[in-house]
Symmetry: C2
Subunit: 321 residues, 2 copies
């Protein structure tokens, strides 16, 4: 059985075929968040702190940390990202006890993160691009960490799922040359927007099944990409995730502060027999009830965590059948 082991200083999380779906919180990422980017340049980490605490309370089992800010004062990310990554990693692991996912396109920032992270973080990411393979796989080997492998290469992102599978296979084989085992590769088969490509869902479900059966690897994805450009995105995401889980997907990089998506994942865990005695579902149902009663999800989740599983202020309300 494929088991990808992640660790913080005190906590172990296993991504695996027989494990609950691993939710990797995506919020700590200044890309496309101008306000956060400006805060980081000004040395203000309050949003990072809030995002770390909220995501873990809402059910993130791993936190992605991306330091991809383009400073106004210095536009070279090779200079600015490594120290920022180090600082963010230190900050986040001082606040929460989950393993981290070190996310950057800058190899120097990845190495800075690897030096700063306690335990066994997930590295995000390698691709099938030659330059990237040569830059990242030695880091993966040196620090003995698992890595996200994105199935694009020097020719770009193929719309043909067979090509994306072949890229994933190439990365797994190249990693093996470095002595990196398949169970430390978490493949992202790339989720296309269903609004742009009508076969995007079926492609991913079939790819996940093949990656699991033929390469024996765990899988992840940027889940919300599936619904890009369509109305009621949360409704699409909340069906996509259980379908991907049923096909064998074992993790996703996503926003865990969304109750509809997290409800779908908790229910899918229950339905996959990855929630002994339904304990997590029952705990979540109390939080869900508080949310239905008007409380924000993050607040209800934090109250439940603090109160030992009761839904905070709403926790004593009659449970609906």
């Amino acid at each position: 059985m494929t088991r990808t082991v992640l660790e913080s200083k005190t906590k172990t999380v296993v991504i695996g075929f027989d494990e609950p779906f691993c939710v990797i919180g995506e919020r700590i990422n200044p890309t496309g968040r101008k306000k956060l980017a400006a805060e980081l340049e000004a040395g203000d980490f309050s949003t990072v702190e809030k995002d770390a605490l909220e995501q873990v309370a809402c059910g993130a089992m791993v936190l992605d940390v991306n330091a991809g800010v383009v400073y106004n004062s210095n536009p070279d990310p090779n200079v600015t990202e490594p120290p920022l990554m180090r600082r963010m990693i230190e900050l986040v692991q001082g606040l929460v006890d989950v393993p981290l996912c070190i996310d950057s396109s800058v190899p120097g920032a990845l190495e800075a993160g690897l030096e700063a992270a306690e335990g066994r973080p997930l590295l995000n990411s390698v691709t099938g691009e030659e330059e990237r393979l040569e830059a990242i796989l030695p880091l993966v080997k040196k620090y003995n960490v698992p890595v996200v492998a994105i199935s694009n290469d020097d020719t770009g992102i193929s719309e043909d799922p067979d090509v994306r599978f072949a890229v994933a296979r190439k990365i797994v084989e190249r990693a093996a040359d470095y002595g990196i085992p398949a169970h430390d590769i978490v493949v992202d088969p790339l989720v296309m927007p269903i609004g742009a490509m009508a076969t995007a869902g079926k492609q991913v479900f079939a790819l996940v099944r093949r990656l699991r059966e033929e390469l024996g690897v765990n899988t992840t994805c940027g889940a919300s990409n599936i619904s890009f450009g369509l109305p009621n995105r949360h409704g699409i995401n909340a069906a996509f995730l259980p379908m991907a889980i049923a096909a064998g997907m074992t993790s996703a990089i996503m926003n865990p502060v969304r109750v509809q998506e997290m409800e779908a994942i908790r229910a899918a865990n229950l339905l996959m027999n990855h929630d002994p005695n339904g304990a997590e579902w029952i705990r979540f149902a109390r939080i869900h009830e508080a949310v239905q009663g008007g409380q924000p999800f993050a607040e209800a989740a934090k109250a439940a965590a603090a109160g030992g599983g009761r839904g905070g202020r709403e926790g004593r309300r009659r449970r609906r059948a």
Copy 2:
């Protein structure tokens, strides 16, 4: 490709591997609805009329009609059910144009329904019980209709999915002896409550796949049974349905007047590439927005149907991304 063709007087619905998921509305059923049972005994069909219209507006493609009332005045269903079934079928097909599913444990009521129904209704149901096979299959043959086959037999409902598969195979083989093709058998593999049997979800997903690949049959289920006894049942149902659809389930007998379940099915249709250009999803998103704004689902759906796809009173509100 397996295609089960149902017809009303004017409308054809195909249950099939390459078709949108077929929602069979379950509401017209006095079993466990004391108020409805009393109304029917008193000759009051107003709830039946309301249920027929609401279910179709909300997205039911077929309506199940069950006349299983135990009258206070006459406790013999062999006497009371056939005329009631006939009357209900005539009433419902006068109101809505979808095909019907004639649902009874009383063979005489099934035949009364078959006589009254226009087009090509679905018969619900045969089981692997010898007496039932001998009573129902001749009706299926005589009226040339498709039939729901429930995978229990004279030994009851097995907890072993291999036994349930064997029962389904037996029914398909016995039907073939009557000249009934496999594409006119819609197998219900029986969904157990996940709260009572932790493997219930995985059992169904695996069974659906086998039924499809090895017997070439369409499948259905009483979807809400999966969540029996657990809190936040709609959340479980709304993950179960997309997962079952991803596994190959092609229909369910369910309550279509529940927005969360119908949202999950519409999204699953989109993700399975059974919603050309996302037209149904976009139409549903407008209804969903009206529901989020406080309008009851059935009302919003009816308004959208009447208004040519706009979400009624809420239809002009800004669409959220």
